[in-house]
């Protein structure tokens, strides 16, 4: 990866621009001056410009990932805001939202501001999602107004669902004064039990205690009805079952203010991956059945699923190369996201490239109220440049995270992130 500061002007020639804000696709040259777009159109290079030929490449607004774990503070051996940001850039992401399951949790103003302070000099915009409850314990609401004023872009207790239905209702209502959305981890922990893979045919054949899809569906059902009842906004993270997609689809039809996301691993892999007992497939919610995977893709196609988010969850190898019960939940996802999405969604004919780009840009920006402007003169130069057709094999040299816990090593992808521009930096992969 090469990162350099744009000190003068760079001219990007012959690229195809996918502007998801205007829903427009057109060919044009873009002249960038430091961090701003100076000119768009048919531009003749002057001698002093650096010129980049983008023939066959696509330029879109920088990708946004609203669900990452940068482990900072508290677990910096697995990831830091700096290392996570490199992983984000490699994946084409210029804006990421990090979850508050740090130590201490991001549940106070100082921790919210610390995320901004630590990322100020980085070429990625890192936004904190603050906790719903103090210490993510599900008991007392955080000072949401102050946290939002300090820059929290949403509220979530991340891996810990707000189990108490009264606290959850209060959180939905109280968050209205901030205008920010509540993101509740959708797992009923009692039904989830002590399992570590999807409950189904594969778990039965492996003798592994399963996590039923029911654990997610019960929680989503409660969350939808509560949000509907108090007329509040809710976002469901990492939807994983067919029934969940259906619950959300119906809720949207009724006018509930609900949005949701899916991860690349849930639309790419199934519980079959667990047959070799590889802990890199241990994730919450678990990799589900093929029927669920197909339903997730259907949900992406019909718009029920608004966003693709990675749930990038770094863990060091010693917590993965161990027996399944002791292994951590989660996998890294930033670097492989676009390749997987292109391969599994666009090239297999499920989504158009523009639809995919919307789920990585305008849709997440709208849900969390992140800045995203159309690609026009005077706006910030915040782009991701991709080659939609390049074949490449994902291996360790493509990983910039401090951790390597991914089930996708060695897989061939069709579609690659080539470069990213943000905050007057130009980064090439």
């Amino acid at each position: 990866m090469q990162i350099k500061e744009i000190k003068n002007k760079i001219l990007f020639k012959n690229g195809k621009i996918f502007d998801s804000v205007l829903d427009k696709i057109y060919e044009a040259d873009i002249l960038v001056n430091k961090d701003k777009i100076e000119e768009i159109g048919d531009i003749n290079p002057e001698k002093q410009y650096e010129v980049v030929n983008l023939k066959g490449k696509i330029v879109s607004q920088g990708f946004i990932d609203i669900h990452v774990h940068f482990r900072d503070p508290g677990f910096e051996d697995a990831e830091t805001i700096t290392s996570g940001s490199k992983a984000a850039l490699a994946g084409g992401f210029t804006q990421v939202c990090c979850m508050p399951n740090t130590k201490p949790a991001i549940d106070n103003e100082a921790e919210v501001r610390a995320v901004y302070r630590k990322s100020r000099e980085l070429p990625v915009d890192v936004y904190p999602i603050a906790a719903i409850t103090k210490g993510r314990k599900g008991e007392e609401l955080t000072e949401m107004n102050e946290l939002a004023n300090a820059g929290a872009v949403a509220f979530s207790d991340d891996g810990s669902p707000v189990e108490d239905s009264v606290i959850f209702r209060n959180a939905l209502e109280y968050a209205k004064i901030t205008g920010k959305v509540i993101i509740n981890h959708a797992e009923d922990l009692e039904i989830k039990g002590t399992g570590y893979m999807h409950e189904g045919i594969v778990s039965a054949q492996l003798g592994i205690e399963g996590i039923p899809g029911l654990s997610e569906e019960l929680m989503i059902n409660r969350d939808i009805r509560t949000a509907e009842y108090v007329d509040a906004k809710i976002h469901i993270p990492h939807v994983s079952t067919a029934e969940s997609v259906d619950l959300i689809r119906k809720a949207k039809k009724r006018g509930v203010k609900i949005t949701c996301e899916v991860t690349p691993h849930h639309f790419s892999l199934t519980d079959e991956y667990m047959r070799n007992f590889n802990a890199n497939g241990k994730v919450a919610p678990p990799l589900r059945s093929e029927k669920d995977r197909v339903a997730l893709i259907e949900g992406l196609k019909d718009g029920t699923i608004d966003v693709i988010a990675t749930d990038h969850a770094p863990h060091l190898s010693d917590t993965k190369e161990t027996s399944l019960d002791l292994a951590s939940f989660g996998l890294i996802g930033l670097e492989s996201c676009f390749g997987l999405a292109m391969t599994k969604l666009v090239h297999e004919g499920h989504l158009s490239l523009m639809d995919l780009i919307k789920k990585l840009t305008i849709n997440p920006a709208k849900i969390l109220g992140l800045p995203l402007s159309s690609i026009k003169v005077g706006e910030k130069a915040n782009f991701t440049i991709v080659d939609p057709d390049e074949w490449w094999i994902f291996n360790k040299k493509n990983i910039y995270s401090k951790s390597e816990n991914t089930p996708f090593l060695g897989q061939e992808f069709n579609g690659k992130v080539k470069a990213v521009l943000n905050k007057s930096h130009y980064m090439t992969v």
Binding site: A204, Q205, I208, T322, S323, L326
Partner: protein, 307 residues
């Protein structure tokens, strides 16, 4: 005689030819066990470590005896998995042990898949002595050997496995092995003890013990652990005995001799009554002896046969 497998991690996918080779070898070791001097020099110079991350008396003793009867050098390592602190790498623990050069490792661990994980980390023959609720292949082999001894063949034999299928490592291995050998398998127990999705293995399922007895030439009765009570899985052991307990009265309803097996340890008066466990149709003690013989066969075929 060589097996197609390098390790015995489970019975899933182990071909019939391998199982028959194990049975044939085991029956010849049975003869050795009837001799006044029960030791043979077959595995002289081979070091076997019994790596038990979970308590076991029978399986560990049976393996140790089998190893000693074959003249192997035997080492025992016992550690409750709780002493391996959370986060500590299983790989580290095991690689340390194996820096000492072992030829064979017999491993029991509370977590499914951990024995397979071990086989990827070490250069030794690995034998699964039970990995959580996944498999316990040597138990199923000794069960099948005992059935073969009694019935001559496993082809089309009707075997019912009765009890806590969900928390058992014996059930899955028996299902895989028996299906490979051409037997018909029925699972019986309360619905809370039948794993979701298990019908995908081509087994019949019933919640009615009389239906299982009607079907069966032989029944394999699993132990009901006292800890299962009160967590909603089972109201009480008394209720279990009333509905599923194998009693003389219940067996008397059927005009046939049903062969009785139990992997032990037995909870007398819960899953099976004493007079049935000790009765003339019980082959429970044959299972114990066959356990030593079949483990000798497995050790010999995997570790000795290749030299």
């Amino acid at each position: 005689m060589n097996l197609s497998i390098d390790h015995l991690l489970g019975l899933k996918g182990v071909p019939k030819e391998d199982l028959n080779a194990i049975f044939d070898t085991a029956f010849s070791f049975r003869e050795v066990l009837d001799r006044p001097i029960k030791k043979v020099p077959t595995l002289k110079g081979i070091t076997v470590v019994n790596l038990f991350f979970e308590n076991s008396t029978r399986t560990r003793m049976s393996f140790e005896l089998a190893e000693k009867r074959l003249s192997a050098d035997v080492m025992n390592f016992s550690a409750s998995s709780s002493s391996l602190s959370k986060g500590e790498s299983l790989r580290d623990t095991i690689q340390n042990l194996f820096a000492m050069k072992m030829d064979v490792v017999v491993m029991r661990h509370p977590t499914p898949g951990s024995v397979k994980l071990l086989s990827q980390f070490v250069d030794a023959v690995v034998i699964n002595a039970g990995d959580g609720t996944h498999e316990h292949p040597t138990q199923a082999i000794l069960d099948m050997m005992s059935l073969k001894e009694k019935f001559g063949t496993l082809e089309d034999l009707n075997v019912a496995i009765i009890g806590d299928i969900r928390h058992s490592r014996v059930a899955l291995s028996n299902i895989y092995g028996l299906k490979t050998m051409g037997a018909n398998v029925m699972l019986c127990g309360p619905p809370t003890f039948i794993p979701y999705g298990i019908e995908s293995l081509g087994v019949k399922i019933t919640y009615n013990v009389d239906e299982a007895l009607e079907f069966a030439d032989a029944i394999n009765v699993l132990r009901i652990q006292k800890e299962r009570q009160g967590k909603g899985l089972l109201p009480s052991l008394r209720e279990y005995r009333n509905v599923y307990g194998i009693t003389r009265e219940r067996l008397a309803k059927f005009q046939k001799n049903i062969t009785i097996m139990h992997p032990g340890p037995i909870n007398r008066g819960v899953e099976i009554d004493t007079d049935v466990a000790d009765g003339s149709n019980s082959i429970i003690l044959h299972q114990v002896l066959n356990g030593v013989a079949s483990r000798m066969a497995i050790l010999f075929l995997l570790a000795g046969g290749k030299r």
